[in-house]
């Protein structure tokens, strides 16, 4: 039965919100060409997953999911740090952070 309850907010609503945000992040990675904006898309995807974790943990009354969110946030911060460092080193080499120039990325 394909009926959606629009008044009483439940787990499903959070999951759908998370799916939409995830897909927007995915499209950002796929469609944009600036390396930094692509990293922002990855952050959006990680946030969508975090919404899912917190929603499940809230509706199942378990806090373990929130521990995972804590870890995901740390990993995301680490990933942003390394990714931006790579961006800086790429920018020094090509004077540009547009991925269309990176056909010969070596050394």
């Amino acid at each position: 039965m394909l009926t959606v309850d629009f008044v009483n907010i439940g787990l499903n609503h959070y999951l759908i919100l998370s799916a939409i945000v995830f897909v927007i992040g995915m499209l950002t990675v796929l469609l944009r060409r600036n390396l930094i904006v692509m990293l922002m898309g990855i952050e959006l995807m990680l946030n969508a997953v975090n919404i899912t974790f917190v929603a499940f943990s809230h509706y199942n009354q378990l806090v373990n999911g929130q521990v995972m969110v804590f870890f995901v946030m740390t990993i995301a911060a680490a990933e942003a740090g390394v990714g931006l460092a790579i961006c800086v080193s790429i920018f020094k080499r090509f004077k540009e952070v547009n991925i269309s120039l990176f056909e010969n990325l070596r050394g």
Binding site: F71, A80, V88
Partner: protein, 177 residues
């Protein structure tokens, strides 16, 4: 219940609007500010789901530290407006949009159709009334997940060293060549 749903819809409108801003805005700095506002919306969702600690961490770590890092790198690069912000190729882009549509419709379809989730929805809502989740979270992190926590500490140290050493190759950001 009405206030609850209004808050949820307002927050999700904010998040989706600013996420689309990240996707559509050709100026990377404006995209970064849109991302900050989307993060604040996600923090609002965390507060709404009664996990205040994570909401605070989200505000401090994402909307604070990570976004400052992004904006600072953008300022170093001094990118004004991009020449071609979006990838070219009509067919390829149609394929990417189709893939995204398939992913989101599969997820939504599964979520709506699955009866288990409906059950979980119906007996929820009483929630952890008055219970402080922060304390439980701290107990879990420092007992059951303490090994992962320590490993994360080592990871962060390695990342700090690695980020510095990667961006120091050939003389840092102010090298001439």
């Amino acid at each position: 219940m009405a206030g609850d749903s209004i808050l949820f819809y307002a927050l999700s409108f904010l998040i989706i609007y600013f996420a689309l801003g990240v996707l559509m805005n050709p100026n990377p700095i404006k995209a970064a500010f849109n991302l900050v506002l989307a993060m604040v919306g996600v923090a609002g969702v965390f507060f709404h789901l009664q996990s205040g600690f994570l909401g605070g961490v989200q505000l401090a770590v994402y909307a604070g530290a990570v976004m400052v890092l992004f904006v600072m790198v953008l300022m170093i690069f001094d990118l004004k407006k991009e020449r071609d912000a979006f990838s070219q190729g009509f067919l390829g882009n149609i394929g990417k949009l189709l893939a995204a549509g398939i992913v989101v419709s599969l997820v939504i379809n599964n979520v709506i159709l699955s009866s288990d989730l409906q059950l979980a929805t119906s007996n929820a809502a009483k929630a952890e009334s008055g219970r402080d989740t922060t304390k439980i979270l701290a107990d879990l992190i420092f007992t059951e997940y303490v090994f992962a926590f320590e490993v994360l500490g080592i990871l962060l140290l390695l990342v700090a060293i690695g980020a510095v050493s990667i961006s120091r190759i050939k003389g840092g950001t102010h090298a001439d060549s």
